[in-house]
């Protein structure tokens, strides 16, 4: 075949075009979006660092008022006690009920904390932020915040799953994500060493001063909590002591008021908290906690066991024959925290005597939006117009000074270093609540004081998400998480006086089964087992 010159030249542009397409694909065919940021164009300015740091705390506010995709949420803090002998979650779709009654499985795992999206975001932040030229001190603080949030996520994972993969760098290839678990001790050591380091970088501030950013106190308080959980009692004492000594924290004088949005600006007790804002970044706490008559759903019920745990106002337990407890006036002369935490039949509330016992009452315990046990929970609740039920702006405390004081006390009791300082710490918490100081004669031994500290922790911190981990380290599952779960006794409430006439029948809520072989851990969800052949299911599932 011969090609004439003219024909050959005519073909030339076509050939050239073909070569260009073949060799310069990236340059001509890869289009970068002009309306969106990419990981390549991001990470340039200090503002980018700020945006990314905020992205570690938050989520898209339009994704609903549960806010369960952010670093922590009211959706956890207020719900976690419902898988214990403190409470009950009546709606199966809240995914907590099965965690309480033992019916959870890989196919139906309840709440899932196995996701690594927060870990990845933090790892990516820590890898990329160094590209940005900005003030070194600020950058170091930002990085410390990212490390805290990563440590916090690992803290939850260790609590709920035991051994988990410890990932501290971004995994680029999904195929390389099929990692086996690290022993939990590795993860615990990582968390503790991270928290120890960043406590020296972050500022000593309370939550008002830091406006919700994590602080040095947050890191030390979480460290003390984990050390207590791990049986490192001397370390827990030392770290709790450091937080106690920080001049920025004080117990808020009014226990009930501590949980009200109106007093937030004066709350210097909070050490770590989740931030919310009405209209722009709201939560749905009021919708969930308020009784039916106030438009709430009563998603969170208290149960009989916690009601019985509150002491009498004289400091004696209701089982003590000299306490003055009256079976048919069970709420008289009790620890004031009872009526500040639990809405029980006959309690004056929002212009009426609360009645969850009469079938004609809107709060009757068998109705859909009424508390299944007969008891609503009052923490964080506030009567609001319907428009605000799912548009609440109240912050939720994750760690507060009272917990640190009780952590100090428990660690000291377990280390058997019982000094006056230990009693003082407990007394501080009791005094604020309106309770007499500890009877030092009656609670002189390690065993007696242990009993008191545990009770104090239960009632002071009820419905703040700690009870399950408390029962776990005390290994009280067989005694507390097994068998029938009871609510209030049946009866009738006098609408004029609030006096309750009790019947002998008690509300039975459900039967729970505790499986000791599970060691208080959750099942790895089935989808994870399917996607990662190297992960092993926890025992008992």
């Amino acid at each position: 075949m011969t090609i004439h010159r003219r024909e050959f030249l005519g073909m030339f542009p076509t050939l050239l075009g073909t070569i260009a397409l073949g060799s310069c694909t990236n340059k001509y065919l890869s289009v970068y979006p002009t309306d969106q940021l990419t990981d390549v164009s991001f990470w340039k300015t200090e503002n980018d660092a700020k945006l990314a740091l905020t992205g570690l705390y938050g989520q898209n506010p339009t994704a609903g008022p549960n806010k369960d995709q952010q670093w922590e949420s009211h959706w956890n803090i207020l719900w976690w006690d419902l898988m214990t002998d403190n409470g009950y979650s009546q709606f199966p779709w809240d995914n907590i009920q099965v965690m309480g009654n033992g019916q959870l499985s890989a196919a139906n795992p309840g709440r899932n904390y196995y996701g690594y999206s927060q870990i990845r975001k933090c790892n990516n932040f820590l890898q990329k932020v160094d590209q940005i030229e900005m003030d070194d001190g600020k950058k170091a603080a930002y990085k410390a915040e990212a490390r805290f949030l990563r440590a916090y996520d690992y803290f939850r994972k260790v609590q709920f799953y035991g051994d988990v993969p410890l990932v501290t760098e971004v995994i680029d290839d999904p195929a390389k994500a099929q990692l086996p678990a690290n022993p939990r001790s590795d993860v615990v050591n990582f968390i503790l060493s991270e928290l120890g380091e960043i406590a020296g970088i972050l500022p000593v501030q309370n939550m008002r001063q830091s406006q919700g950013h994590v602080t040095s106190g947050s890191a030390l308080a979480l460290k003390a909590r984990l050390e207590l959980y791990e049986g490192k009692f001397e370390d827990a004492m030392a770290d709790a002591q450091k937080v106690k000594d920080m001049p920025v924290y004080d117990l808020y004088p009014d226990y009930r008021g501590l949980f009200l949005i109106d007093n937030e600006a004066a709350n210097t007790e909070s050490i770590l908290e989740v931030q919310y804002a009405q209209d722009t970044y709201s939560n749905n706490i009021w919708q969930h906690v308020l009784p039916a008559k106030e438009g709430g759903w009563s998603s969170i019920s208290a149960v009989q066991s916690i009601v019985d745990a509150y002491e009498m106002s004289n400091g004696k337990t209701i089982t003590d024959p000299t306490s003055g407890y009256q079976v048919n006036k069970p709420f008289d002369n009790r620890d004031p925290r009872l009526q500040n935490t639990i809405l029980y039949p006959g309690l004056w509330f929002n212009g009426r005597y609360f009645d969850s016992l009469d079938a004609s009452s809107p709060d009757y315990h068998q109705l859909a939006a009424a508390p299944r046990s007969g008891y609503n929970v009052l923490k964080y609740s506030k009567v609001v117009p319907a428009s605000l039920l799912q548009n609440g702006g109240e912050n939720v405390m994750v760690i507060r000074l009272a917990e640190v004081l009780l952590t100090f006390a428990e660690a000291a009791v377990e280390a058997n270093k019982i000094t006056g300082e230990v009693y003082d710490a407990i007394d501080k918490v009791r005094k604020r609540a309106g309770m007499p100081p500890v009877d030092r004669a009656a609670y002189a031994t390690q065993a007696k004081l242990r009993e008191l500290v545990r009770r104090e922790r239960r009632v002071e911190l009820a419905f703040e998400g700690l009870r399950y981990w408390d029962l776990k380290r005390w290994d009280l599952g067989p005694q507390t998480l097994d068998g029938p779960l009871y609510g209030s006794r049946e009866g009738s409430v006098n609408p004029q006086t609030g006096a309750v006439t009790w019947s002998q029948d008690r509300i039975k809520i459900e039967d729970r089964v505790f499986y000791p072989e599970r060691k208080y851990l959750l099942p790895i969800p089935q989808q994870e087992l399917d996607a990662n052949p190297n992960v092993k299911q926890n025992a008992g599932y």
Binding site: Y32, Q36, T54, T62, S105, A107, A531
Partner: protein, 381 residues
């Protein structure tokens, strides 16, 4: 063709071709940073940003290659016949395969694997007239076989995408009756976390390890029909005309939505069929023990919920009568025809009463195809 005069038409066909499909979101090859990941420090909203979707730098088009051979035939000017064999190979399927949550981002879209659809389609028609009766009848049937040839990481929820299975097939436990005795409740393979009672569904321990868990799931069926068919009939006799169109499918299953199938789930109502249930007095009832709360039986997919949704449906029937021409002339019209027509007149299926076999899986609570009767009058001037 000599000696073959009765053959009016005979055509062999063969075709081969490829088409691409890029039906997935834009810029999936880039790690995008999403704004709007906000947080209200001190009650004032601050803007935040984070990567929330994953990217795949080597994403390609999905490609379908189809090979088809066919035969068209017409005999005696009355009998028509068409046959096709096809083999469609779809490669580089664009989909998100599951990744370990340790990855920290949702699964990226990748070119995950390949599947093959092979099948045969046949059509036979006959038309004739005899003593004023004009009629034609047409029957078609298609057989399809779908199989995933390769797949990067199998996805095994209640639908499976994995090598060797039909695409998106139903996947779960094999139901082998109900717990009938205390001994079975105590000694049958354990379902972790589920306190089974007498009357609950019993599942087969496929791997025999004494525990019923995710490893005991098997293929339960598919909502891609193996066989589809249709029938068209047209008759005309003097002033009357009749047209019937029927269609159907077999070798096909449906999983009924929880609220449709299980009684009383999440406060929903119960259907009458739920009365036929296990009680100590009726151990052979169709349904297991009724639970008012969700139970393990209701939560997981088992063969009990996989229902054969084969059906035949008279989709359309029309009966008409054209008035004699003399009457038409009297009324100064060309033609007057009155007719009755019905859509979805009869359905023959073993599927649960009230559920449309043509409905999409998991949307059976939506409006089904409705039955319609129409009386009409056509007047041509």
């Amino acid at each position: 063709m000599k000696g073959l005069d009765f053959v009016n038409n005979l055509k062999r066909r063969a075709s081969y071709g490829s088409v691409g499909n890029n039906a997935t979101g834009d810029y999936q090859y880039l790690p995008k940073i999403a704004l709007g990941m906000d947080y209200p420090f001190g009650g004032t909203i601050s803007s935040g940003a984070a990567q929330t979707t994953s990217s795949n730098a080597v994403l390609q088009w999905e490609k379908s290659t189809t090979f088809d051979v066919g035969l068209d035939m017409m005999l005696f000017n009355k009998l028509s016949f068409t046959a096709d064999y096809y083999n469609r190979y779809t490669d580089n399927i664009l989909t998100a395969v599951p990744v370990s949550s340790i990855y920290g981002l949702p699964a990226p879209t990748i070119n995950a694997g390949a599947m093959r659809n092979t099948g045969v389609e046949l059509q036979i028609g006959y038309q004739d007239q005899k003593g004023g009766l004009h009629y034609n009848i047409n029957f078609n049937v298609g057989f399809n076989h779908n199989n995933v040839v390769k797949y990067a990481t199998p996805s095994k929820t209640s639908r499976i995408q994995a090598e060797g299975y039909p695409w998106n097939a139903f996947y779960g436990y094999e139901n082998i009756g109900k717990y009938q005795t205390d001994d079975q409740v105590k000694n049958a393979p354990k379902v972790p976390g589920a306190p089974v009672k007498k009357g609950d569904l019993m599942f087969k321990d496929q791997n025999g390890d004494g525990i019923i868990d995710g490893n005991d799931r098997v293929l339960l069926g598919s909502d891609i029909p193996g066989v589809t068919f249709g029938l068209n009939l047209n008759l005309a006799y003097r002033q009357f005309d009749l047209a019937v169109f029927a269609q159907g499918a077999t070798d096909v299953d449906q999983v009924l939505n929880n609220e449709v199938f299980w009684p009383l789930v999440n406060g929903a109502n119960a259907q009458k069929m739920a009365l036929d249930r296990w009680t100590p007095e009726t151990p052979n009832g169709r349904f297991p023990l009724t639970h008012v709360d969700e139970s393990y039986n209701y939560d997981v997919l088992s063969s009990f919920q996989v229902n054969n949704s084969s059906y035949i449906r008279i989709k359309n029937l029309q009966l008409g009568y054209t008035l004699p021409a003399a009457v038409g002339k009297l009324l100064k019209t060309e033609k007057i025809r009155i007719y009755f027509s019905a859509q979805n007149l009869f359905t023959f299926t073993k599927l649960v009463s009230g559920v449309d076999p043509e409905s999409q899986v998991d949307s059976q609570y939506r409006y089904p195809n409705v039955k319609t009767y129409t009386f009409g009058l056509n007047v041509n001037f």
